[in-house]
């Protein structure tokens, strides 16, 4: 029989996967838009590819957090207090980036634009990296005592496996951003995105393969990768193969599957635990010992079954409405207050 707390673990995993698939390309675009865009007009076009969506994409993270609070209060409590300073950095990055995406182009002042562009770029880089470290730590194990309290300090959060997971997710987000830009732009912007996607895909292959091998060595299971891990490797290989082809949609699909399978594999390997204690396996937080009572889970399940399909419908509709490619203004047309850098090609 399916326990509701197992279902909720799956829902939380799906939310994290959805978050990385959707906001993953936002992060990639946030980092890459100043590289693919050489004129102010091009940068503006590149960042506009995520304009109508990024805020809605971020909600997946918020709901993953709030869902954890509701369904697994003990997990939420231990995880958020253990990752304290790391989450502080995540919050700072989320705030700087979120405001930057709205404010950068609300003033022509070059200093204003430069500052906020840095906020958007650095924020987009730091968030997937830090969240990846946090997710990796869940599996690598943190010092947690018998009352589920974290007993380590900030540096204990920097587990080697966690850092590799962070780099892997960052690499995948950059690749995903590049395939997204390639799908959503035209001409030079698209070409530059494609030429970036190539090396990014090679880096992602190395990171994902390393991640899979490392995961096998720290988890109790067999030394053979499970199907989802194999899928992640195949998808990232496909993304590399398709990066410079004309199949923009397929390249994006491949990077989406790579990121989904990688994040999904973390939760598959974690289950039935939700946080592993490096102090003593008996202190692990598990799907059953961290969960809310049956009534709360039942209510949440009913609400989710009703609302989630509606959310998917209107979010999907929004993707449909703005599906067209964006064309950068011709380089001859002087963009409003260009930010230094290279002159228009």
């Amino acid at each position: 029989m399916l326990h509701l707390h197992t279902l909720w673990f799956v829902i939380i995993a799906v939310l994290w996967v959805g978050f990385f698939v959707l906001e993953g390309f936002d992060f990639g675009v946030g980092v890459l838009h100043t590289i693919v865009g050489r004129t102010e007009g091009e940068r503006q076009t590149a960042i506009s590819t995520i304009g109508p969506w990024w805020d809605g994409n971020e909600v997946w993270l918020i709901v993953a957090g709030a869902g954890t609070f509701a369904a697994f209060p003990a997990w939420y409590a231990t995880m958020f207090s253990a990752l304290y300073l790391a989450l502080l950095l995540v919050l700072a990055a989320l705030m700087a980036r979120g405001v930057a995406l709205e404010y950068t182009r609300k003033s022509e002042d070059p200093r204003w634009r430069r500052t906020w562009t840095w906020c958007a770029t650095l924020g987009s880089l730091l968030i997937p990296l830090l969240l990846g470290v946090g997710l990796g730590d869940l599996l690598a194990g943190l010092p947690i005592n018998s009352s589920h309290e974290y007993t380590g300090n900030f540096f204990d959060l920097l587990t080697p496996y966690g850092l590799w997971t962070g780099l892997t997710l960052l690499g995948l987000c950059l690749l995903h951003g590049a395939t997204f830009l390639k799908l959503r732009t035209t001409d030079q912007l698209r070409e530059r995105a494609a030429s970036l996607a190539r090396p990014l895909a090679w880096a992602a292959i190395a990171l994902v393969v390393g991640f899979v091998i490392w995961t096998r060595s720290i988890t109790a299971g067999p030394d053979v990768p499970d199907p989802v891990e194999i899928l992640a490797v195949i998808a990232v290989l496909f993304a590399a193969r398709l990066a410079t082809s004309d199949h923009d949609g397929w390249a994006f699909t491949a990077s989406a599957i790579a990121i989904a399978a990688t994040v999904g594999s973390i939760f598959i390997n974690l289950s039935p635990n939700v946080m592993i204690s490096s102090t003593n396996a008996a202190y692990n937080l598990t799907v059953s010992n961290a969960a809310s009572g049956g009534y709360a889970l039942k209510v949440m399940t009913i609400v989710t079954v009703i609302l989630f399909p509606i959310v998917l419908l209107y979010q999907g509709w929004s993707f449909h409405v703005f599906r067209g490619r964006l064309k950068a203004p011709p380089a001859a047309e002087p963009p409003p207050a260009p930010i230094g850098a290279a002159p228009p090609a």
Partner: protein, 461 residues
């Protein structure tokens, strides 16, 4: 010490967050109204007003959203003992908020901003109404969660002594929630309409775009007047509810140490700091406290001394009296400013009736300055609510002193407090810069179908 720091941090971040929330809720509604007017009468000035106030809304939403993220994370980061203890009940409305409200708000705001000239007019109008609905839904779930902390319902204690949800409906029929939610929505509409009135009044005083801003000034007064009058009634009713469920909150708000019947209301007091029990009360209005607290002419109010004795008997030794000074003055700040705004609204209503709103120098001058009052009232209201619950974090179930994260040190909280304050100052400065710039910039040009200021000119969606 750690606990105090965690409290300072929560107070700082939530008060700051709530400077932006009511502007968002109020302005989203008003922008939707303006766009509806344009949809119906097709006059270009309403479209220009919609875009103008829509831009102010977006500038404000940006900071409101990101500071809301901090609130969401903070329960787990700073208050893990609380989160673990109450997550079964308290987590549910938070998760529902995300699913029901945040997705709605953010997706349709994106559609609205980038959908000018792209979506059919009727659909585009529906988008802004869905944004407005999303903001109000979000407040609903948060107020349901907060009201549970004020007056816990719909739960039973399990074998570990922890509250477990057993009736979700009770959270949404909780009298503290029903009146508290209406109170917050009305406060947001007061805030939004005062912001719109102040900006419009500034243009009217400068003789710029008079014909257009006369419309928005009129609309803001028409919204403000009934809302502020209703608010005085609702606020009073909420006081009665709190007298029933949280008597110390209201007794402290009146510095009422002794039992009384009938009870008078003091306009001011001198002293009363550090829970000094003998302040000098100035201008006592007989029977008014009885009316405010119980809704009857001769109602009895139990004083703090007796409440303290009763609570000690029930919960063991300890101090069960909230900080009286904060209670007393936040209540008065809110009530007095509310009264002044009601008078301003009545005056404005009369001017609208006479058709001379845009020419009344003194009304417009005062309206510009009135923009600071909603922020003071909103902050005072939350201070009254949250400080009045102390020493409890959940009334009668858990004390604040036991609620912070055991594994988080004072150093951690110092670091995060300093970081948040620094970031909030920077965000506040950026927000204010843009708000002032776009408020003064004037209305956009008159062409239909051009993209919003946030969208780039060359977008070919």
């Amino acid at each position: 010490m750690t606990n105090d720091l965690a409290r300072w941090q929560f107070a700082t971040t939530s008060i700051y967050h709530f400077l932006f929330v009511p502007v968002t809720i109020g302005l989203a509604f008003l922008v939707a109204l303006l766009q509806t007017a344009w949809y119906r009468n097709e006059k270009p000035e309403y479209r220009r007003l919609t875009k103008f106030f829509g831009t102010l809304l977006v500038i404000n939403v940006a900071v409101g959203v990101v500071t809301g993220l901090v609130q969401e994370f903070e329960f787990g980061m700073n208050w893990s003992a609380y989160s673990k203890f109450v997550g079964d009940v308290f987590g549910a409305p938070l998760a529902m908020e995300g699913l029901a409200a945040f997705f709605l708000e953010s997706t349709f705001l994106g559609l609205w901003l980038f959908g000018w000239g792209r979506l059919p007019k009727r659909v585009h109008l529906a988008c802004i109404w869905l944004v407005a609905a999303g903001t109000m839904l979000s407040a609903m779930f948060i107020l349901a969660a907060n009201s549970w902390m004020q007056h816990p319902v719909g739960y039973a204690l399990n074998s570990h002594g922890q509250p477990e949800l057993n009736n979700i409906g009770a959270l949404f029929t909780n009298p503290t929630f029903l009146w508290g939610y209406v109170h917050v929505i009305l406060a947001s509409l007061v805030t939004g309409s005062l912001v719109m009135l102040a900006v419009s009044a500034w243009y009217l005083r400068k003789q710029r775009e008079v014909a257009t801003f006369a419309h928005s000034a009129r609309i803001s007064v028409i919204v403000l007047l009934p809302v502020i009058l209703l608010q005085m009634f609702v606020g009073n009713k909420l006081g009665e509810i709190e007298t029933t469920y949280q008597p110390a909150k209201i007794a402290a708000a009146e510095a009422q140490w002794e039992n009384c019947q009938p009870c008078s209301f003091s306009a001011f007091q001198i002293g009363g700091g550090k829970n000094d029990k003998t302040p000098t009360q100035v201008i006592e209005i007989p029977h008014l406290l009885s009316v405010l607290a119980t809704g009857t002419w001769n109602g009895a109010v139990v004083g703090l001394n007796q409440l303290q004795k009763e609570d000690e008997k029930k919960y063991g030794p300890g101090n069960y009296v909230p900080d009286v000074f904060i209670q007393y003055w936040s209540m008065r700040l809110m009530a007095y400013l509310g009264t002044l705004i009601a008078l301003l609204a009545l005056w404005g209503g009369w001017l609208v009736h006479k058709g001379s709103l845009e020419r009344s120098k003194w009304f417009l001058r005062l309206s510009i300055w009135a923009i600071v009052t909603p922020f003071l009232m909103n902050t005072a209201g939350w201070l009254l609510t949250e400080n009045g619950r102390q020493p409890w974090i959940v009334q009668g179930l858990m004390k604040t002193i036991n609620a912070n994260s055991p594994s988080v040190t004072s150093t951690d909280i110092w670091i995060s407090l300093v970081a948040f304050v620094a970031i909030y100052i920077a965000l506040g400065a950026a927000d204010l810069t843009l708000m002032l710039r776009y408020s003064r910039k004037g209305l956009g040009d008159d062409q239909e179908g051009e993209t919003d200021a946030t969208a780039t000119p060359a977008l070919t969606y």
